[in-house]
């Protein structure tokens, strides 16, 4: 299938809903995090070649060791967060922090409804909601570089000749299923991370660092070049990120948390 990249950029134009005013507080720390326990995998330090390069950037960047969630945050896990932080309920969240599609797959404010999606990745969440969830657990969203670096690891049981970008493009070829499969249902990579490709897109902390267009948008660096023009899958990810705003919620966009190593 040929994907018109431009149409991805067009989500940019989808209008957000009319707003309502509400006051929101920072998520309050909660001692008991219920059943929220996701195994954190240690990602060793290493070098990484970013797909997009600003004109004055080094071609290789160093990523320090960090921890990354073994799988994406599930609906059931996110429900614990919403219960502990009612300002993040579907009916309470201010439009500043999420559009009106937020958690639209749930049956109610604190009710997932469909039991089949409890262990599926939570989607239809804004960057602000993902950011708040990770903060609540004393964690953070991974940076774009961290995520790309960790996601570049090969499937642990891949054939020696298998090409990761082919696997990813195969996923892009299929529509998002009405009911997302559970986490840990696609593949585990050599780092021990599940579903880095093939299940959902994932928010990264600095998704708004992606600037693909040239022109008068830039300060110092001028337009960005791509390190590997053949990596169409990476181009798709970056184009998708560029098209997002922090309030957007998308049915195939979820997240996982990262953490510094103390």
């Amino acid at each position: 299938m040929k994907l018109p990249a431009v149409s991805i950029l067009i989500i940019f134009f989808l209008l957000p809903p009319v707003s309502s005013h509400a006051q929101v507080e920072a998520p309050r720390p909660v001692a008991a995090h219920g059943q929220v326990h996701t195994e954190m995998i240690r990602i060793p330090a290493g070098k990484f070649q970013p797909f997009l390069l600003a004109a004055d950037q080094k071609h290789e960047r160093h990523v320090a060791a960090f921890l990354l969630g073994q799988h994406a945050v599930t609906n059931a896990e996110f429900l614990q967060f919403v219960k502990a932080n009612p300002q993040w309920r579907r009916s309470s969240v201010p439009r500043l922090f999420a559009d009106n599609n937020y958690l639209s797959q749930w049956a109610g404010d604190e009710n997932i409804g469909n039991a089949a999606i409890r262990r599926s990745p939570v989607t239809n969440i804004s960057w602000f909601a993902a950011n708040a969830y990770c903060k609540w657990l004393g964690k953070r969203l991974p940076s774009l570089d961290e995520w790309e670096y960790a996601a570049a690891a090969r499937p642990e049981n891949a054939d020696p000749g298998a090409d990761l970008s082919r696997i990813i493009l195969g996923w892009y070829d299929h529509p998002t299923p009405a009911i997302l499969p559970a986490v840990e249902s696609t593949y585990r990579n050599t780092l021990g991370l599940w579903d880095m490709h093939g299940l959902i897109w994932e928010w990264v902390d600095d998704f708004n660092s992606v600037m693909l267009q040239g022109g008068n948008f830039y300060c110092a660096a001028g337009s960005a070049g791509t390190a590997n023009k053949a990596d169409y899958a990476a181009y798709m990810r970056y184009a998708f990120r560029e098209s997002l705003q922090a309030t957007y919620t998308v049915g195939s966009l979820g997240f996982r948390c990262a953490q510094d190593i103390k």
């Binding site: 920072a26 660092s209 948008f217 830039y218 998308v250």
Partner: protein
């Protein structure tokens, strides 16, 4: 995924057809180049009055080393931009454009409008450096310069819809926008690009001051 693509394709169709007529009434950046201009497009986007950005929690420090929260900016119309003081290219232009707006305000409005610069550079733009910059640039007490931690800076960029990237070596690649906030802190207008739009800003400020 496919759903997004389909929606995208439909949307582009709608936008393409509406580009021939009147300017799109949208609160996103319009795809339609303003008629009659060939220069790089300066986009003045009217943003629908949404929720106040003063809902963002967190303490900032100004150039006088005073601690404040964003909600302390409430009550005045605010003109705000994100910059870093070591920027040699775009940021001086942004500050110049904001100064031009400040200088063009009628006397009756001057004390009802505040100008805010927020730095991307949490490391080097400490309050002392911000004070130096304010003095170099001749910024008077209508200006507030803010230093925050990297988390807060990223969150603020999200509500202002300013894109930026730490390009290494303490330089930042960023989109150039001057935002006009109403007295409650809702982003009312985003002036994007590097061309002074003083009269557009003046009209908007005048409307908001008297609202």
């Amino acid at each position: 995924m496919k759903k997004i693509l389909t929606i995208g394709a439909i949307t582009i169709g709608m936008i393409a057809s509406s580009c021939h007529g009147k300017q799109l009434a949208t609160n996103r950046i319009s795809c339609c180049p303003p008629t009659g201009t060939t220069a790089p497009v300066t986009i003045a986007t009217t943003l629908q009055a949404q929720s106040s950005i003063y809902q963002l929690p967190g303490k900032w420090t100004d150039e006088h080393n005073q601690s404040l929260e964003l909600r302390d900016l409430k009550g005045k119309v605010r003109v705000i931009a994100m910059i870093f003081t070591h920027c040699t290219y775009a940021c001086p232009r942004l500050v110049q454009d904001m100064k031009a707006i400040a200088d063009s305000l009628p006397a009756a409005e001057k004390n009802k409008v505040g100008f805010v610069l927020v730095s991307f550079d949490a490391q080097r733009d400490d309050p002392a450096q911000l004070a130096r910059f304010a003095s170099q640039q001749g910024l008077d007490d209508h200006w507030t310069l803010l230093h925050g931690d990297p988390r807060q800076i990223r969150e603020l960029s999200m509500v202002l819809n300013v894109k930026y990237q730490d390009a290494g070596d303490n330089t930042y690649t960023h989109s150039n926008a001057i935002l006009i906030l109403d007295k409650q802190g809702s982003v009312i207008r985003s002036l994007e690009g590097l061309e002074a739009q003083t009269s557009v800003a003046d009209n908007e400020i005048n409307r908001l001051v008297n609202r």
